[in-house]
């Protein structure tokens, strides 16, 4: 019986190759487009989120406020108001601070062995690694000892290393010259990715005290990065830092604060709302293509079965029981939708991979839920509209079905 059924499906589908092919094609396109769309949307969202996460986790940035000379404002961050003392106060007085790293950063021309580059030099403390999620590739980062002694040591970002010493070279023990001061290279950080103005790969790290003594020549810091111990405590920590610094700087009116606080969660929230809209847009497009695909499948199935009403009548007239007719049409619909579905998933997956390959900044993510949704909807539509009209036709008397035009 089962063999009869399988044979009959095979013959019936292969007798109508074009019709079967078009039905499958409709399903393939419907499913593949939904999967690809959603994969692109989710890939874009997570690539934006991860590039924000790369800055560090649960980060609060303290920057100096605007410098005022009478009525002229020098702009946010131009003032020299933050000191190592502020950082120490935060470290000592505020709970839920996992790590804190004051930094002095500025761009300098760097020379070594006849080659030179212009890049960001960051004077900071050991905690900077934790705060900014930076990993040392080889060598060491600045130590407490080196900070105490204002050691003339430097850690290079991989891009700086490549620019000065050549791609992949080991520069440890070599000397670089920043603002006419020789620094010994003691480490290289691991490539972190990211682009733009403050690229962690294109930076040179030196002990905070060394930067103050030999480079900036004063005791101020350009920013303080604070990592809260977890996401929930961020709001409280930010508030406490604000209160503490107002007290430290003897400012009674919070509006007159000579510093500003930026919280990473704010940045993520803004970015998430953008990517959320983006995902919503792509999901609507995917939803519409699912609808269009579904209607296509429905039309295909309906016309196919209607076209075959006479065939159903003939089958019934020569004595095939209607359960076998129903079974055959159901099985044909299942086979077509599953074939089309499998191919659609494969095609959608491949298309997502291709997008990632040719547009590397858009790492697509094929989601199981998108696959299930697309496949589920197409299969349901295909099976319902493939078997229901056949069921109706099989319930007609064979004479009516045979006479059907």
């Amino acid at each position: 019986m089962l063999k009869d059924l399988l044979k009959e499906i095979f013959w019936s589908l292969s007798a109508n190759k074009v019709r079967s092919g078009l039905t499958i094609l409709g399903i393939v396109i419907g499913i593949a487009s939904v999967i690809t769309m959603v994969a692109i949307g989710q890939g874009a969202q997570s690539s934006i989120e991860s590039s924000i996460q790369a800055i560090g986790s649960n980060l609060i940035m303290v920057s100096p406020g605007a410098q005022r000379t009478g009525a002229v404002s020098g702009g946010q961050g131009s003032a020299q108001t933050l000191t190592v003392g502020d950082a120490d106060a935060i470290r000592i007085e505020i709970p839920n601070v996992k790590a804190i790293a004051p930094e002095v950063s500025r761009r300098y021309q760097i020379n070594a062995k006849g080659s030179n580059t212009n890049t960001q030099v960051i004077g900071t403390t050991t905690d900077y690694l934790t705060v900014r999620n930076i990993t040392i590739d080889f060598g060491t980062f600045v130590t407490e000892q080196q900070i105490k002694s204002s050691a003339k040591v430097a850690i290079l970002g991989p891009t700086v290393r490549d620019d000065i010493f050549g791609v992949g070279a080991n520069p440890i023990g070599q000397t670089i010259r920043i603002k006419n001061v020789d620094f010994e290279v003691i480490g290289v950080t691991l490539t972190k990715g990211g682009t733009g103005f403050a690229n962690p790969d294109n930076s040179v790290y030196v002990p905070l005290t060394s930067a103050q003594h030999f480079l900036s020549g004063d005791t101020f810091v350009t920013s303080i990065s604070v990592a809260a111990s977890d996401q929930n405590s961020m709001v409280a920590v930010q508030q406490q830092i604000n209160d503490l610094l107002l007290k430290q700087h003897n400012i009674s009116d919070p509006l007159m604060a000579d510093f500003s606080l930026v919280n990473q969660a704010d940045i993520i929230a803004t970015a998430s709302s953008i990517t959320g809209t983006f995902t919503l847009l792509l999901s609507s497009i995917a939803g519409i293509s699912l609808l269009v695909g579904g209607i296509g499948i429905m039309n295909m199935m309906l016309t196919t079965v209607t076209e075959r009403t006479r065939e159903i009548g003939l089958r019934k007239a020569v004595g095939v029981r209607k359960i076998y007719i129903n079974l055959q049409f159901l099985a044909e619909a299942v086979l077509l939708t599953f074939l089309g579905g499998g191919m659609g998933i494969f095609l959608g997956w491949m298309a997502s991979l291709l997008v990632s390959k040719f547009v590397p900044q858009l790492a697509t993510q094929v989601s199981i839920s998108a696959i299930l949704l697309a496949f589920g909807v197409s299969a349901a539509v295909g099976i319902i509209f493939g078997s229901y009209p056949a069921r109706r036709a099989a319930n007609l008397s064979p004479i009516e079905a045979l006479r059907y035009e």
């Binding site: 020569v318 095939v320 004479i399 045979l402």
Partner: protein, 227 residues
């Protein structure tokens, strides 16, 4: 072997009742070749549907091989058609784009008969119906009208049915082909098959040995064919 007792069939279409068959009774014995003739609207098609177990009468009784057919349900009617009746329809009665062999094998579908036996029986039936062997794998849409009817006859024979029911079997054929198809039926009859022809053409009815003439749902005449 076929016995009809006072068959009635009433169609209700909205408020209009149509009496298609109004009290028909007759017997057909095994091995007879009977033509049922009548103009369109005479009720011969309705009668054929009842005889072919495609439909059940509103009242009256119909016995086929001693089995009462009038009160069977849909599946029982299917089984009866498959086991006892071979149909030859007017036209377009093959599966589209399907080989001759598969068309003939259709009534054996889902009967548990092995594929090998099905093919063997289909080949036998096709040869019996006078189909050339080199056409067995032709698709149904590559056949001539006469060939289509031969395939249809072979399909009707495959279950070795008690009766072969032919509904206007020459309806779409030219005279010459019609005659060869009718001769094929006569040969089957000589080999012992019971054959019932439904037609509106006297010329075709004359191939049978008994002619039942129907008009307005009743039997007008039932006579031995003198020709």
């Amino acid at each position: 072997m076929i016995e009809c007792k006072n068959l009635y069939k009433t169609y209700i279409n909205g408020d209009v009742e149509t009496q298609a068959v109004c009290g028909i009774s007759f017997r057909i014995e095994k091995g007879e070749m009977v033509a049922i003739i009548g103009p369109s609207g005479s009720g011969k098609s309705t009668l054929m549907h009842i005889l072919g177990a495609l439909d059940t009468p509103t009242s009256g009784q119909y016995f086929l091989d001693g089995q009462g057919v009038s009160k069977l349900n849909d599946d029982e009617l299917s089984d009866l058609r498959r086991n006892k009746i071979g149909f030859v329809f007017q036209s377009f009665n093959l599966l589209p784009r399907t080989t001759v062999l598969r068309n003939v094998m259709l009534p054996l579908l889902f009967t548990g008969v092995s594929e090998k036996e099905k093919e063997g029986r289909a080949r036998e039936a096709l040869k019996y119906a006078g189909m050339e062997e080199d056409k067995f794998f032709n698709l149904s849409n590559q056949l001539s009208g006469g060939q289509i009817q031969r395939v249809a006859i072979a399909r009707a024979l495959i279950n070795n049915p008690a009766i072969i029911l032919a509904d206007e079997p020459t309806g779409n054929l030219d005279t010459k082909t019609s005659h060869t198809v009718m001769q094929a039926f006569q040969e089957l009859n000589k080999k012992g098959h019971t054959i019932i022809l439904i037609t509106h053409e006297m010329e075709i009815a004359n191939f049978a040995e008994r002619i039942i003439s129907i008009r307005d749902g009743v039997i007008e005449s039932d006579r031995k064919n003198s020709q």
